[in-house]
């Protein structure tokens, strides 16, 4: 599969597919005139992302899916920050729309998905991550903590 052989293509491909889905939605709702610019921007962004992913430096390594452990930790923290900011933005939007008397369900849905995925993450990474502190590998755990 092309995605596995060329990890650098993964992000631009997802970007192109996502943008095309949005462009299709715009096409259905607003017609060709509005959809074409969306698709053009999507393709340009995907190409730009691909080109950037081939360069040197931390950002390029993260974008190009060839990050080492430090760059991967940067990526994870950046995603965490983005999720927190998105949550705060949704909360702000919820409050504003509530005050305006408009429909608030999209914000409620967003916050619910955010909270649900956070809880799911806690469950997944607790059970599949470090393992029990007093389990059979506890000696190794203790040693690891001393060194790190």
């Amino acid at each position: 599969m092309i995605m596995t052989r060329h990890p650098r293509l993964r992000a631009p491909a997802v970007m192109a597919i996502g943008g095309s889905v949005i462009a299709a939605a715009v096409l259905i709702g607003q017609g060709w005139a509005a959809a074409v610019p969306v698709e053009v921007v999507t393709i340009a962004a995907a190409i730009g992302y691909y080109v950037l992913g081939g360069r040197g430096g931390d950002l390029a390594a993260i974008i190009g899916r060839r990050a080492d452990e430090r760059q991967e930790s940067i990526r994870v923290r950046a995603r965490s920050l983005a999720a927190q900011v998105a949550g705060l933005a949704a909360l702000a939007g919820y409050v504003i729309e509530l005050a305006r008397g408009s429909a608030v369900w999209p914000f409620e849905l967003f916050v619910a998905v955010l909270a649900g995925s956070f809880l799911a993450g806690l469950v997944i990474y607790r059970t599949g991550g470090a393992g029990p502190a007093n389990g059979p590998d506890s000696e190794h755990e203790a040693r690891s903590h001393v060194i790190s």
């Binding site: 430096g57 931390d58 390594a61 080492d68 452990e69 430090r70 760059q71 930790s73 690891s144 001393v146 060194i147 790190s148």
Partner: protein, 55 residues
């Protein structure tokens, strides 16, 4: 030996080697062992556990 050569041998980027050298990144335990092995040393000798490392 250049940072690039060290980075290539350890399977990390040159930026990460620089970050570890400058104390800006604390490597994972597997990477710490690889570094120690690469330089023919031990983790204890290579890293000071009492030193606070900014991650």
């Amino acid at each position: 030996m250049s940072q690039r050569e060290v980075a290539a041998a350890l399977g990390v980027s040159r930026q990460t080697v620089i970050a570890i050298e400058n104390g800006r990144y604390s490597p994972s335990l597997p990477l710490a062992f690889r570094i120690a092995q690469f330089f023919g040393s031990t983790v204890d000798e290579m890293f000071d556990a009492s030193e606070e490392v900014r991650t």
